[in-house]
């Protein structure tokens, strides 16, 4: 029971982190980062190879680079940095001059290709088999299988998610957040007012990448294994479904979506008695995710918690500047 609850909490925390990052990129800035899961995977792989011993350990049954055996906070910090560093090269290719829907498909293609490359390069990160036996943080000091450890781990995840939530709130309520939303609503007009849209997008791409990297590190530290099958591109779509369902453009919506879609779905299907041939239920789940996106975009495109209408009044001239949700 402890294991079940703590697992649930860790997954919820990781999904909340991921959805906050998607909310910042997609909800606030209008970037459709279909390669989001690649950033999470990069963080997870980084945390894994930084915390693991060299690959000759354990009889050398898996091959990977590095294996630095670093103590706890470094793998997570490294994962966050790698997530952030991955953003500029991708952003420079994708965000610079392409139309928004082009950006989306370019990143989708990128996600598929990244998965292909990792799968077909076993000497880099153990290919399709993936990395396993990743040590849990501080497992040399505490017993990682004790109830206490599990609770502390899940509590730490929730605290981190809360911290990121506060940071995300600060970003979207700042004047900077206002620029981001202005760009999302009308990129041309925002550029005309002197907002550098590439720099704005890039900053959110980097911030989102860092959060994604951290979420990957948290997840891999808990489940201790990571393989290409866990980060196929449809996983990104689940997170988008979460943000669309919860409500775009506000962080409460992102949190709610994370709790409803990835977490809620997993839990709901756990209690469905198995029926039909094997694989029918996962297939059905995917159909539901797709249906959920279509249904929400049709009937309630602004999500369960719609973005608050913001009205800004200047002190002198009472000229309201209104924003519409969606966009």
């Amino acid at each position: 029971m402890t294991y079940y609850l703590t697992t649930l909490l860790v997954y919820a925390g990781v999904d909340v982190l991921a959805c906050l990052a998607i909310s910042l990129q997609f909800g606030i800035s209008g970037i459709v980062n279909f390669s989001f899961i690649v950033f999470q995977a990069a963080g997870a792989y980084t945390a894994a190879v930084l915390s693991m011993p060299p690959d000759t350990a354990n009889g050398g049954f898996q091959t990977y680079v590095l294996g630095l055996n670093l103590p706890f906070p470094y793998p997570w910090i490294g994962a966050t940095i790698v997530g952030a560093l991955l953003a500029p090269p991708i952003g420079l290719v994708v965000l610079r001059r392409l139309r928004s829907d082009y950006q989306a498909i370019a990143m989708l293609v990128l996600s598929v290709i990244a998965s292909l490359v990792i799968t077909n390069t076993p000497q880099f990160l153990d290919g399709a088999a993936g990395i396993s036996l990743v040590p849990q943080p501080l497992s040399n000091i505490f017993n990682p299988y004790s109830d206490g450890y599990l609770w502390v781990y899940s509590a730490a995840t929730v605290v981190l998610a809360a911290i990121i939530f506060v940071i995300a709130q600060r970003i979207i309520n700042s004047p900077y957040g206002r620029s981001l939303r202005a760009m999302r609503e009308n990129e041309l007009a925002a550029s005309a007012l002197g907002k550098n849209s590439v720099a704005l997008k890039m900053s959110m791409f980097v911030v989102g990448g860092a959060i994604a990297g951290l979420s990957g590190a948290i997840l891999v530290g808990f489940i201790t294994t990571w393989a290409p099958s866990t980060w196929l591109y449809p996983e990104t779509l689940i997170l988008f479904a979460a943000v669309i369902v919860g409500g775009r453009g506000n962080n409460y919506g992102a949190v709610l979506g994370a709790l409803l879609v990835p977490v809620g779905f997993e839990e709901a299907t756990r209690y469905i008695p198995p029926f039909g041939p094997p694989g029918l239920i996962p297939a059905f789940e995917w159909v539901c995710i797709g249906g959920l996106i279509l249904g929400f975009l049709w009937f309630r495109p602004r999500g369960v918690i719609p973005e608050r209408r913001r009205v800004f009044r200047l002190a002198a001239a009472s000229q309201p500047e209104e924003e519409r949700g969606g966009g």
Binding site: G30, V32, F34, V93, V94, R96, R97, L98, R99, S100, D101, Y102, A104, I105, A106, L108, V109, L110, V112, I113, L116, V117, N120, E187, L188, Y233, P234, L237, F240, A241, I244, G276, P277, G279, L280, A283, F284, W286, V287, I289, G290, G291, I293, L294, L297, W298, P301, G327
Partner: protein, 294 residues
């Protein structure tokens, strides 16, 4: 050296398949302004439709016609029931991309329980193998290339010598102006989905014919070279897609011979990235693809 020449021969077949698919994909985008990411799944669904009749004893050529009709109707209905209503509602470009990806997920996972998880292959006679130097191609592969050439010629004839084709080009260039000139754009778009859907269906069947076996999982794999070829040539531009198909088809096969087969899609992607950096509007530019999101 002979290995590379042989790979060049396979590249001719691969480019034929990509060309059929990419021309359909890019025309959908050009005429209806819709990046249909469910295209790969419609291809695989059509391939299975053809398999159903082929398995019942119908010849592969007749099955291809069934696949084409299936693809045409499927695409037509997809647009009528999902894409067009969303577009009428004023969903923006990004929204439409997300919708098409959701549709792709639904199609793949509805298809999966119906057709099963195992790979299937068509019943066909591959015919005698023809040799030209180091190039060795089976009769079926030659036939695939012939199908592609016929399809390309028909598309060219359609766009240049028929009223429908001219109406399509007008709609692609400026839908509002086309409507004001009395072109029934709604009907033109319906026809565009039927025609591109047929290309999609044929592409699915020939892709299935060229591979030893195919399964539902191939749907999203098909999509990558198609996107690469379309974007490479300039999205929305049918002749650009043909050029893109030639480059991507040869690059994948020759790089497979030169480096390793596992990376053949990666090589195609590298070409795509290069074009995106150097010439984001594609080789044959279509005005408007670089415009800010509407």
């Amino acid at each position: 050296m002979s290995l590379i020449v042989a790979a060049f021969g396979f590249g001719l077949v691969t480019m034929s398949i990509i060309a059929i698919a990419a021309v359909g994909f890019t025309m959908q985008f050009g005429i209806t302004n819709m990046i249909n990411l469910a295209y790969g799944q419609v291809m695989i669904a059509s391939a299975y439709a053809a398999y159903a009749v082929n398995n019942a004893g119908v010849s592969i050529w007749l099955s291809m016609v069934v696949g084409a009709v299936f693809g045409a109707l499927f695409s037509f209905l997809l647009n009528r029931t999902i894409y067009a209503p969303f577009q009428r509602k004023g969903t923006n470009l990004i929204g439409m991309v997300i919708i098409s990806l959701a549709v792709s997920l639904v199609i793949a996972n509805v298809l999966l329980p119906i057709v099963g998880y195992y790979s299937v292959s068509y019943h066909l006679d591959t015919g005698p193998t023809l040799h030209a130097g180091s190039i060795a191609l089976t009769g079926v592969q030659i036939a695939i290339m012939a199908v592609a050439v016929v399809a390309m010629v028909l598309i060219y004839a359609l766009l240049h010598f028929t009223r429908l084709g001219k109406a399509m080009r007008a709609t692609a260039a400026n839908p509002t102006l086309a409507r004001n000139c009395g072109i029934p754009t709604a009907r033109v778009i319906d026809f565009a989905w039927l025609i591109t859907g047929a290309l999609c269906g044929v592409a699915g069947v020939v892709a299935g014919m060229n591979s030893d076996a195919f399964s539902v999982a191939n749907g999203s794999e098909f999509l990558i070279p198609i996107i690469a070829a379309s974007v490479l040539g300039g999205a929305g531009h049918p002749y650009g897609a043909m050029i893109g198909a030639v480059i991507i088809g040869e690059m994948t096969e020759v790089s497979a011979a030169l480096i390793t087969p596992e990376y053949k899609q990666v090589a195609a992607f590298a070409a795509l990235v290069l074009v995106m950096v150097l010439r984001p509007q594609g080789l044959l530019a279509k005005r408007g693809t670089l415009a800010a999101a509407g």
